[in-house]
Each structure stands twice: as C-alpha cells, then as structure tokens.
Amino acid sequence: MVHQRRTIPVWLFLSVLLVTVAAIMGAALLVGSADLSPGQALSALWRAILGQPADDTAARIVLGIRLPRIMLAVAVGGGMGLAGLASQTLFRNPLASPYVLGVSNGAAVGAVAAMLLAGKPFGYGSVPAMSIVGGCSVGAIVFTMARRSSHFGHSLLLAGIAISAFCSALTAAALYLAGERLQTLVFWLMGGLWQATWRDVLLVAPVTVAAIVGLIAAAPAMNVALVGERSASDLGVNVRRLQTLLLIVVSVTISVAVAVSGVIGFVGLVVPHLLRMIVGADHRGLVPASAAGGALLLLVADTLARTVAAPVEVPVGIVTAMVGAPLFLWLLRRRAGYGGWA
C-alpha cells in the first residue's frame, strides 16, 4: 500500500530489526553476573557449536543459564508484542493492551494461588499450569459474556475491566494472607526471567510461533477490521471468527508469558503503538514487526536487568517501563494525527 508516512520500506526495516535482535542475542550471551570473560563465554559457545563435550562451568553458564534465558526473553517478548497488537486491533483502540482483557491478572491469580497452596513457590508444573488455567478462563469468561451482546467490542472491554479488577482484588487478598512469603510473591508479580529454563522455552516458543503464523494469515482481515465491525462485515470479513482468533492469541500468549515470567507490563502496549508510527498500520508489516520489536525490547530490558546491578537482579518490568516510556514519549511528541492511533 502507498504510504506517505513510511520513510523506509517495511522489508528493510524488518530486516534491520531482525539483524539487531540476532546481534543483541549474541552479545547478551557474552555478558552476565558470573565471573566469566566474554572470551571464555565465546570459547564455550564455540566448543558447543563444534559438538565438543561441554560440561565445564563456562559451558554450563552460557548454554544452561544464559542461552535459555535469552531465548525465553525473545519468545516472551515476541508473544507480548503480538498479544498487544491483537488487543489493539480487537478493540480498535491504540490504548488497549492484554491487561485490559483481564487475562494477565487472571493468570497472575492462578500463579499466586499455586504458590500459596503448593507451598513450593517455584516448583515447575503447578505455577505455569495454574497461570494458564487462570488466564485462559478469564479469556473464555470475557468472551462468552461479550458474545451474547450485540456490541461485541464494547462488551468485551467492559467485561475485561470488571474481571481484571476482580482478579486484582483476589491477588491483593492472596498477598494479604501470604505472611512470610509476601516478598517472594511481590517479587514474582513484578515479573522477571531469572528462572528461565529450556522447559520454559519449549512451552513459550511454539505458542509465539503459532501466534505469528495465525496473525500473519489474519493480517488482511485485521486491516479491514480497522474500519469497524459493521463495515468490516460488509467488506467480507467474518468478524466473529476474526475476534475469536485475536482473543485466543491474546489469552494463550499472555497466559504462558505470565506462567514463566510473571507480570511484565508495558511491552504489549508500547511495542505495537511505536511500530505503527514507523511502519504504518498495515498489519502485513505490523505483525512481524511487533513480534520482532517485542522480542527486542524484552531482550534488551532483561539483559540490562541482569547486568546493571549484577549480581543483584532488577525486576525486568521496571526496566521495560524505564527504557520504553521515554522512547515512547519522544516518538509521541514527534507525531500527530491518524485519529490518535499514531
């Protein structure tokens, strides 16, 4: 599509974005809190690539701790970017984010409940499973309620806000009752990737890949959806089917993201919005850009989170907001128009 705003072609921007993600992934492997020089890390990595036995400390740190964490940051960040874009298109509102639907709060309730009841805060299994149950249940409840109404989008928004508030209250109640586990829970709720394992990567990466494929396939219909439900239907979009797809993408990606990393804010809101300013609102470019942009933001934020105050970890949610917000404000100042979208 012809685009006045677009200063560089989408394919070029996407390529630059992907190369940047790859470069930062490589760089992030070489830095960390462990007493390991970049040279040692590089040689451990090189030995692994050559298939030589790697059971020394350097290899365990680079391949067993840093690499899964980097992969997880990319997978979770990409999923959050896509979920943010899907919710903004679903609500036809650039201020929407997965949080508005209540899915993240639902997933958080599930996770907090699992931690309190299991008595084993970070054991694998119960926390991710309960997050997914919590998040997807909220998605399903909100969807079922909205589906009965004639104004799907508005009902979805209102039901989401109400359930979100209800879930926040449940989380607050759980914190109130947490006793000595309060600090663990609060730290977990702030979000972070320090628990990253290969199992987490195997849980999240397929979901993110499926979300990319689903949204790329739906991109032309998502473009049409920008003119409103009625007109989209008149122009040939099966609006209910599109809304169902978008809601499933948001619910599942956010649930698995919360399951492995807690509640990390801001990525889903800021990434699609920021990229819309650069590549335009055409979803065929915006879908892959949001995935890559989300991956980039979370990867940079998480790398900073684990290095700036090493050996202490800064919760990554603090970094995403501190890096993302000024950038966002700077871009916002330079742009005007487009009905408030960009």
Binding site: P94, P220, V227, G228, G236, G280, Y338, G339
Partner: protein, 255 residues
C-alpha cells in the same frame, strides 16, 4: 444481478417488529430510492438485504441464491454497502481505505495486485478524490470522507450497490454528482438502492421509489406515481399539493 427480498420480517427484540413483511426487488439498470420518515426501518431493511442482519422470517435472494447461506466474503464480492456513518479514527490513508474494498476479491495471502491498484485509482478518480489518496483518512472533511467510503464500495466491483443516506455530509453539487454516479453505475449494469432522506432533490434523481412507514412498505413504483399529496400527508405528515409534469419535473406547494 437481481436482489430479491421476500416477506422480510425483522425484530431486534420480540416486542416490536422493525420490518414487517417487506417484499422488494432490485434490478440491474435501475436506481431505486428508499424513502420513509426517521425510524421507519430503512437502514434495518438495507442491513437485511446484504445479510448482515438475519430476518426472523422471509429470505433474501441474490440471483436466486439465498444470501443467508453465503459467507461474508462471497456476499461482499457481489453486494457493496455505503454505511450511514463510518468511524473517523482509522489509522489509514485514503488509498489504503479504498484498497480495503478489494479484500473480498483477493486471496488471503496475496499482496494487492497491480490490477487492484489500478481499480483503486479509477475509483478515487470517479469520486474526484485522487488528489487525497495519500492523506490520512482521519484528516478528511465529512464530505471527503463520504466520497472515500463510496469509492471503497465501488472498489468492491459488486453488481449490487446499497447506499445508506450517502448525501448526509454533502453539499448540493456533490449530492447531484452522487445521484449521477448512481445512474451511470446502473447503466453499467448495477442494481442500485439509495436510502434518501430529503424529499426535495432525491425523488427527481431516482428511477423508482420504495416508501416505508413504521416497518412496512406502503408504496412502490415509479416516482411520479408514488409521490402524491395523499402519501406525503399519510407517511411524512406534510400537507402539500403535488402536480407532476413528467417523471423529472414536479410542482409542489407546501401548505
């Protein structure tokens, strides 16, 4: 293509029928005006005609095929709608908005073809807004926006065109332009329905009139046979004496 509505009855809730037993046929080459006071069910009938509302009873056929059984994409390939109002906050350029009209014709994965781009240019040209192609849709005036939406409907290249008060935001010159465009499209073989709000200009610009009152079709036929003093009094609560010269000249005196 012939669009045929047979005994349509529609209600948003059980208490009251918005459309009561409406029968209507739109034929290629004919511009039909749909008239009626506010709240008489004109827009609802239009939404039933393209299958975006499902009537409680009765059916709509497109060349004999039931519209209710077609998917939205198939309907949009044949029937284009210009809605009464359209959201302003659309983050697209005029060219992009008109290109959305090509959605139903394209395959899911395809980029727009050169043919799509050519069709969009022709439609922009026809509505006189080619110079606005790269403007953000949200920056347009009401009239420009209306013309962009009509261009989008033309880009669908259907054979039935349904316009819901297309003249709301247009000045008289542009209103006449839209009627002339409708006439040209009809001559090209389209079946055209225009919901008309005003009774001064539009009766002179359409071939056929359908008049609705409280959900029922109360008159249907050539304009000069339909619009008479009795109809204006009964349906529009307006006292007037009307004398038609021929189908395009009329003398009316409002009392």
């Amino acid at each position: 293509m012939i669009l045929q509505a047979e005994h349509i009855t529609f209600a948003y809730d059980a208490a009251q029928n918005v459309i009561q037993d409406a029968c209507l046929e739109l034929q290629p080459g004919v511009v039909t005006g749909l008239f009626g006071p506010n709240g008489s069910g004109k827009s609802t009938l239009l939404r039933c005609l393209n299958g975006s509302l499902n009537p409680q009873s009765g059916r709509v056929f497109l060349d004999g095929q039931a519209v209710a059984a077609m998917d939205r994409r198939a309907v949009a390939r044949h029937i284009a709608v210009v809605p009464q109002d359209t959201p302003v906050d659309v983050p697209l350029t005029v060219h992009e908005v008109v290109m959305l009209g090509r959605y139903a014709q394209g395959s899911t994965w395809a980029q727009e073809t050169r043919e799509d781009a050519r069709i969009v240019s022709v439609c922009l040209e026809r509505l006189g807004i080619a110079d606005l192609a790269n403007r953000p849709f949200s920056h347009l005036s009401g009239g420009e926006r209306q013309r962009a939406v009509i261009a989008r409907a033309l880009a669908q290249q259907g054979s039935v065109l349904l316009l819901d008060e297309p003249n709301t935001h247009l000045d008289l010159a542009h209103q006449l332009e839209i009627y002339r465009l409708a006439k040209t499209l009809a001559e090209e073989g389209q079946s055209v329905l225009i919901i008309c709000h005003d009774l001064l200009v539009s009766p002179l610009m359409v071939d056929r009139a359908v008049v609705m009152d409280r959900g029922k079709i109360v008159a249907i036929g050539p304009v000069h046979e339909v619009f008479d003093a009795r109809l204006l009094a009964q349906v529009f609560a307006t006292k007037a004496s009307i004398s038609w010269g021929d189908a395009s000249t009329v003398r009316a005196q409002f009392g």
